[in-house]
């Protein structure tokens, strides 16, 4: 028998070979599949929780940007255009056409004098300071046209209703005549030194147009965001576990009693100010303690035990101002709402029972996630500092227990929850001294 036939027969006999594996292999395969499925579910939930504040933040940022962009236009551009167009009509009605070159500057000047009931030019010329700029002279010479302050106060010695909002300034269309510096008319009045300019609807004052209702330059606004801030906070939390024993303890006939635990958590935060009123914040707590006391009546005796878990906690939150005001008349105050998700890493799991402390990290999941929400009332101070009072609520969404020996439908799930109050302090980079606005 040659080698070829030998190995062919070897192969054919091998192909039909079957061996029955032990049942432990099958159990191992499917328990691992269950674990993987649970991990995938947790990852999906955690990812969606983290996406919620980002989506919410993005939408709010977009909406806020749209609103601020819309608010800025009327206060700047539209008012400048409006006043310019109205000024134009007033000027044109008061002053005859100046396009008639034959009338010459003298006649034109006379026409202008005739149009105005008084001689504001004469008065203005007397009052105009030497070396005044062209634009200032224009503003002063035009009948009914006053500087921003006087006009805004309603002063109009000529009773002229032409200038609707001279505080924004108006440019008058430049007339064809050339300025006659020093040239006097037949009445000895000096003619207009400077050409008049007609307000153009499509060319408002860029300086005015760029400012919004808050008096902030739009360019400044754009430059101000995003702005970063850092800070810290401390929370006094009341914590509980939401598990079958806790739920049962709230029943009047229950033989189980539970009591919330208290913990002080201190953390740091950093964030980015997206708009005046919205921000994205990341918080980190090196120590997040969650605990609860249990008392169970067993065999005629009460057995008490305390469970305390310590985590590292990362929060991703979106913050939005809902109310604004002023504090003591000087500083900006605000009330903001925030919401988002958190991710926690287990550091320590301790159970105290019958006077003994026992560490049991293997009975609890190494990771947990959940949602956070709260209120923040803050006051902006000088130098970019901001102090605030927090009201925070946190709820876990993942099951913190890890006991493979007990089926989940028997042991039930357990989530960590807490409610707390605290203080926060932030410093905003790039904040000007004078303003408390975000």
């Amino acid at each position: 028998m040659n080698d070829g036939n030998l190995w062919d027969r070897f192969l054919s006999s091998f192909e039909g070979l079957v061996q029955t594996p032990p049942s432990s292999v099958k159990e191992g395969v499917f328990s691992e599949l269950d674990r993987a499925a649970r991990r995938r579910r947790r990852l999906k939930r955690g990812t969606s929780l983290l996406l919620i504040p980002l989506l919410f933040g993005g939408a709010a940022y977009f909406i806020s940007s749209e609103q601020e962009g819309g608010n800025a236009s009327p206060s700047g551009n539209e008012l400048a255009v409006q006043s310019a167009s109205e000024g134009e009509s007033g000027i044109l009605s008061a002053i005859p056409s100046t396009r008639d070159a034959e009338s010459g500057p003298v006649n034109r000047g006379a026409a202008e004098r005739d149009a105005s009931p008084s001689s504001p030019r004469r008065e203005d010329e007397a009052s105009s300071p030497e070396g005044a700029t062209e634009s200032e002279s224009i503003v002063q010479d035009r009948p009914g046209d006053r500087s921003g302050e006087s006009a805004s106060q309603g002063e109009d010695p000529n009773g002229d209703q032409l200038a609707q909002d001279p505080s924004k300034g108006e440019r008058v269309q430049e007339v064809e005549e050339k300025p006659m510096n020093g040239e006097t008319g037949p009445d000895g009045d000096k003619l207009a030194r400077m050409p008049r300019k007609k307000p153009k609807n499509d060319d408002p004052d860029p300086e005015l147009a760029s400012k919004d209702g808050w008096g902030l330059d739009q360019e400044d606004q754009l430059e101000r965001f995003p702005r970063f801030f850092v800070g810290g906070n401390g929370l006094m939390n009341f914590t509980r576990f939401v598990d079958p024993q806790t739920i049962e303890s709230f029943e009047s006939t229950s033989l189980i009693a539970t009591e919330a635990d208290r913990a002080l958590d201190v953390g740091v935060e950093m964030g980015v100010q997206l708009t005046h009123r919205s921000a994205l914040v990341v918080r980190y707590f090196a120590k997040e303690e969650v605990g609860q006391d249990y008392e169970q009546y067993v065999n005629g005796r009460f057995h008490s035990q305390r469970l305390r878990l310590t985590y590292r906690k990362f929060d991703l939150l979106f913050e939005q101002d809902v109310l604004e005001g002023s504090f003591m008349g000087e500083h900006r105050s605000f009330l903001s709402l925030y919401g988002g998700g958190h991710y926690s890493i287990l550091r320590q799991a301790e159970r105290s029972s019958m006077g003994e402390d026992r560490m049991m990290p293997n009975e609890y999941e190494p990771q947990a996630y959940g949602v956070d929400a709260g209120l923040r009332f803050g006051v902006g101070t000088s130098y970019g500092l901001e102090a605030g009072v927090l009201l925070n609520a946190s709820m876990g969404l993942s099951d913190i227990r890890q006991d493979e020996n007990v089926p989940e439908h028997l042991s039930g799930s357990s989530q960590k929850t807490s409610v707390g109050v605290g203080l926060s302090l932030r410093y905003r980079f790039g904040q000007e001294v004078m303003t408390d606005a975000r």
């Binding site: 192909e15 061996q19 499917f30």
Partner: protein
Amino acid sequence: MSPMQPVKNDELTILEGCIKGDRKMQELLYERYAPRMYAICKSYADDDLEAQDLLQEGFIKVFNNIRKCNTQGSLEAWVRTVIVNNNIDHYRHKNKKFGIRETSTDEDLNDKGEEVENEAIRSFQDNDLLRVLRILPKGYRMVLNLYIVEGYPHKEIAEMLDISVSTSKSQFFRAKEMLKKKLGRESIEEYFAAI
């Protein structure tokens, strides 16, 4: 190795159920192919415990990657490919970790091989083909399995095991000679004649 055939209707049903995560279909797939795959894992492993580990890891990979199964081929062939690839990965990992020499020699039998050889001879007398393979050193056994049983050419075997082509050929040659030498040619012929 069985020729490639399109996935049959019942196999398609099992495949679709496993993709959806139907536990019944997953168990059905396991029950159907685990005995055959366990035999394959035993031919690669040094002992039954290692074979059970290989089988468990292999089937976990099968279920995790079931979506990648090509319905143009046989489901059993795809499962077998995953199992064999897992065995090869295990061997490569062990090779790196424990520094197993690329080429095995007859001296390897002196450590554990002699005991295995005696056991294999006794097993051989009991017509246990799998134990016959265990008289071979790990490297020889890997090449023999991949070349004879799985039908891979030496070039591919060399890439899988991270060895040279000449090493693959020489190990296969030595595996054959060792089997014939240790067990006796007549014994092998009698064995195959009895099957």
